[in-house]
Each structure stands twice: as C-alpha cells, then as structure tokens.
C-alpha cells in the first residue's frame, strides 16, 4: 500500500500563548488541494492567530504547519509567500500612495522579473475582481470594500496554491458578497485554487465552503459540512446562538 500524498495544508496540535493567554490551544485540521474550507468562531477565538502562524508572522509554541508535507515553521512571511501561500489582512494594508494597478503588480512580481508580464497579470486579476476601471487611482482613495478587493487581488497576483482570506466579505453589501463568492468559486473550479477563509458572514460561508472548522477560545469545537455545522448544538451554543438561521 503506497502512502497517500500529504494534504496541501496540514495543521496539527497548533499552540500559541501570549503571556499566559492561550490564544490557540490544540487546533488541528487539514485541507486537501482544491478544497474551500471556512474557519469560523466568535471574536477572539484565535482564527487570525492561526492564520498568522501559517503565514509566518508568529512562530507557534507547539504543533505542526505543513504545506504539501513541508514544514512552514520558522519561515518568514516572505518565504511562506514564496512557498505558495497568499494571504489578505483583516485590517487592510494597501500601498496607499501607489496606484491600484501598481499594488497588484507588486504581487505579480513574486513570480516574474518582467514588469510587462506583471502588469498584464495585474490587469487580468483586476478585471476578475471588478477593479479594472479604478486601476489608475491611488489605493488610498478606495472605499473599504474596494480595499478588501484589492487585498484579494494582490494576494491572487502572487499565484498562490493556497489563499488565506481573513474576513474579506465583512462590510460588503449582499450583492457584492454574492459576486465575490462567485469569483472565488470560479477560481476554485477553473484553476483548482485552494482557499481557507475566516468569515463571519454566514451567507458567504454557506455558499462557498465545502467544509467548516469551528474554534472557540483557541480550542477546536467541531468540523463538518456547512449544513452539519450550523445544526451542531456546540456551535449554536458558542457562536451562532439558538435562533435558527
């Protein structure tokens, strides 16, 4: 029997303390290539801390983070990006004085040295995310929903194998949410892009994810399909509340 190939992303027994606060305490999950997985839980559950440990911002105090069987622990954020992980920031970090297109060009320069190629890729990504007509504006002039879009565009331009989305739908109108969900589904279908998203907008979680991982107070609560998770009493108890959706 040949060993099964390692999953795209493996998280096992992840632990992070901040001065005695157990921000993340034993979180484990795996993501197969081509999957869309949502990470949900109440505020302060440790979701963004998990992302930061995957992305190389924090080094975990314990546990494993592996991309295609290769450990990411100890790598700097730029090295994690070059290994194939793109991420967005919950608190957006646009390059304010650069144009929207230049922002995305920086992302595309992850895989090419040629500005013309990077620019072509940037335009493609901006088209996809509906920012094409704003590409000449300075990024600081964008509205918050557009800035979130720009975060996604920049990360996508790096051509990641795995995309980490940190609350990119927050603050979007329902129609905008639906459009972004559709964009991610198409990317997933057409390019096989694997996505892990942190999201509070359940409308997006339900429509987009194939699997949901729930954490609370840094600890795993449960894992399952979106339909299973929203009926799970433990999830209702800690996060969604008793009201039926």
């Amino acid at each position: 029997m040949s060993p099964s190939p390692p999953p795209l992303l493996l998280i096992e027994g992840l632990v992070k303390h901040f001065r005695g606060l157990r921000a993340v305490d034993g979180v484990s999950f795996r993501v197969e290539a081509g999957e869309i997985v949502a990470l949900i839980g109440p505020n302060g559950a440790g979701k963004t801390t998990v992302f930061n440990m995957i992305a190389g911002v924090f080094e975990p105090d314990g546990g494993r983070v592996e991309l295609e069987g290769r450990s990411l622990i100890g790598l700097r954020p730029d090295q994690v990006c070059r290994a194939g992980v793109g991420r967005t920031f919950q608190l957006v970090k646009p390059f304010g004085n650069l144009s929207v297109e230049e922002n995305v060009v920086v992302g595309a320069l992850r895989w090419t040295h040629e500005i013309t190629k990077a620019r072509a890729q940037a335009r493609e990504v901006l088209d996809l995310l509906g920012l094409a007509d704003k590409r000449r504006q300075p990024a600081r002039s964008l509205t918050l929903p557009d800035r979130k879009c720009l975060e996604v565009a920049r990360a996508l331009a790096t051509k990641p194998k795995l995309l980490l989305l940190d609350e990119v739908m927050a603050g979007l109108r329902p129609a905008e949410t639906d459009r972004m969900v559709e964009t991610f589904r198409r990317l997933n279908r057409e390019t096989g892009l694997t996505i892990v998203l942190i999201e509070h907008v359940m409308r997006a979680v339900m429509a987009l994810s194939q699997r949901v991982v729930v954490i609370n107070s840094g600890q795993p609560v449960c894992e399952g399909t979106p339909e299973e998770v929203v009926r799970d009493p433990r999830v209702l108890d800690c996060y969604l509340g008793e009201e039926p959706l």
Partner: protein, 327 residues
C-alpha cells in the same frame, strides 16, 4: 515624446550650452546646483524610494571623499581607480549601519538617529586621524588648471562642470530605470507597508539593505567629486550634521520619491542661498547663517503649503500629466 521628456531635454540643453555664455561665478553656482541634485538623487533612493530616513548621509560623502583623496595624496592612485575604493568603503559602512538597524528592528526616527550617531562619531574619528590631516584638513595638490585630465581629476573647472553634469544625467537615468524595475517596486512596497510587502514575498531586510548600499555607493561618488573639485577636506565639513541637512533639502523641497524632485529642489535652493548671500554682501553687511535661515524658511513653507514637494504641484500646473515620470 512626452512633455516631461521635452522639459528635461530643454533643461539639459541649457546646462550643456551654458558655459558658452556664463561667467566663472555663475558656472561655479551651477556646479553646486548639480552637486546637490546628484547627492539629493542618491539620498532619494533610500528615503524617497525605500522609505528609510538617513539624516547622517554626509558620512558617505565624507568617506568617499577621504578615501579617494587619501589614495591620491599618499599613494598617487588616480581618482578613476580611487572612486571604486571610495564606493566600496561607503557601501561597507552603509551595510553595517543598515544591517545593525534593520536586524534589530530599529525603524523610523530611531533609525534616523542611528544614522546621525554614525556620522557624528565618524567625524570625531577623522578629527583624530592625523595621517589624514585631522582637524587641520587634508589638501590635494592643485595641478594645472588648463588640462582636462579625467584620469586624475585634475584640470580646468569646465571639466568638473561637465563631469558633474554627466553624473546627474547618469543617476537620473539609473533612478528612472530602477523605478521601473522589480527592485523599484519592491522598495516602494516596503516604503508603503512592510508587513504587506512581506506577505507578497518581499524580503524586507534585503530590500532595505540594497537601498542603503546603492544610495551609499552613489553618494560616495559625489564625495569623490567634492574632494577633487574643492581640493580640501575638513572633518567638520565632510561629516558635519549641517551637510547632511543640506543634502536632504533639495529632494524634500522638490518632491520626495520623484525623479525631478532633487533636480528642481537644487535649482530652487542653491540660487536662493547664493542670491541671498550676494544680496546681503552687496548691501554691505555680513550676515552669517542667512543662507541657512532662508533654507529653514523655505522648508517651513514647503511643509506647510506643498507637503509633497514642488514638483508634484508643478507637474499638475504645467499639465504634464500624473503618470510615471520619464515614460
């Protein structure tokens, strides 16, 4: 050809033909203008492009000047070889300052303080460096002023005039190329947001260090010019804090991070300083420090009214478009 290119071409043409019309005094002022445009451009790589504030930038001028001058005075090594040593010494110093600062996360104003500290103790070091003249200064033997000896950088003032003009053109073209390169985008991203830059695969430490090294090396070449043009070097001039301030004024007044900024800033500030000095002298009184006072006032005015500098404002006024310069 864009209107910006035409404007630049006209400016260049004016500087090329000026010696046919201008007297020695005016030419010497124009040399100073171009010198500050050059070192301002070199400083701008670090601050305007990569966002790293160096307030002790004269350390690279001084190191470059002293290295090339000492090699010439003590060993007879011509400037054309000395300049490589000068750049190497400055790049080494820049790497040390940059590596120390960036490795230990010294950011923003604290990094700026670090650059001042290095410049200051280098000044004190050179004041006690008797082999290089100490406080008494290092003097280069003055050669024939009729020759055009580019190898030894000895000769006619016109040679220095065209040399610094060529250096200005060279650094302008280099910076333009850099801004449209991967490295340039990397610097801009680091300047705007280091965390976001790192998340896009940019090695922030390396990007900042590259900017410091390149800026230091290019500034040192300005120092070599300075040494051989003025033929004397004093530690308090070569490494003095006021020199560092003078270097950064032109790019700030002209427009940080722009290609025309340092040129425009030098074109405004140097004639202003010279004019004020000449005017006060003509009126029969000597007001020491009047030039610095004017620089201070113009800096205040810029910060208050045109915080992005004169060039971005002028570019809009002249209808030169808001696109990338030089495109």
């Amino acid at each position: 050809m864009s209107r910006q290119a035409i404007l630049l071409g006209l400016l260049l043409a004016a500087f090329v033909v000026a010696p046919a019309f201008a007297g020695p005094y005016l030419l010497s002022v124009m040399v100073v203008v171009m010198y500050f445009a050059y070192v301002g451009q070199a400083w701008n790589i670090m601050m305007g492009f990569a966002g790293q504030l160096s307030l002790g930038h004269t350390i690279y001028v001084g190191l470059g000047a002293y290295t090339a001058a000492a090699l010439f005075v003590h060993f007879g090594i011509p400037a054309i070889f000395g300049l490589f040593a000068a750049a190497a010494v400055a790049v080494a110093a820049g790497s040390i300052i940059g590596a120390l600062g960036f490795r230990f996360g010294v950011k923003g104003v604290y990094f700026a303080l670090l650059t001042i500290a290095f410049a200051e103790f280098t000044r004190i070091l050179f004041e006690h460096f008797t082999a290089l003249g100490g406080t008494g200064g290092l003097f280069l033997p003055v050669g024939s002023r009729d020759s055009f000896d580019l190898i030894h950088l000895r000769g006619h003032p016109l040679m220095f005039y065209y040399l610094i003009l060529a250096m200005c053109v060279g650094i302008f073209l280099l910076c333009r190329k850099l801004l449209n390169s991967r490295l340039g985008y990397t610097w801009l991203a680091v300047r705007e947001d280091q965390d976001a830059a790192a998340a896009l695969g940019i090695n922030v430490f390396r990007a900042k260090l590259t900017a410091v090294m390149l800026s230091a090396g290019l500034t040192a070449l300005g120092g070599v010019f300075f040494a051989f043009y003025y033929n004397n070097l004093f530690p308090n001039q070569a490494f003095g804090m006021n020199r560092s301030i003078e270097i950064i004024l032109a790019p700030i007044v002209g427009g940080l991070g722009t290609l025309f900024g340092p040129i425009l800033g030098a074109l405004i500030l140097t004639p202003l300083g010279e004019g004020i000095t000449a005017a006060t002298e003509a009126m029969g009184f000597k007001a020491a420090g009047i030039k610095q006072l004017c620089y201070g006032l113009s800096l205040l005015a810029i910060v208050k009214f045109l915080p992005e500098g004169v060039w971005p404002w002028l570019r809009l006024r002249l209808g030169l478009g808001d696109g990338e310069e030089g495109e």
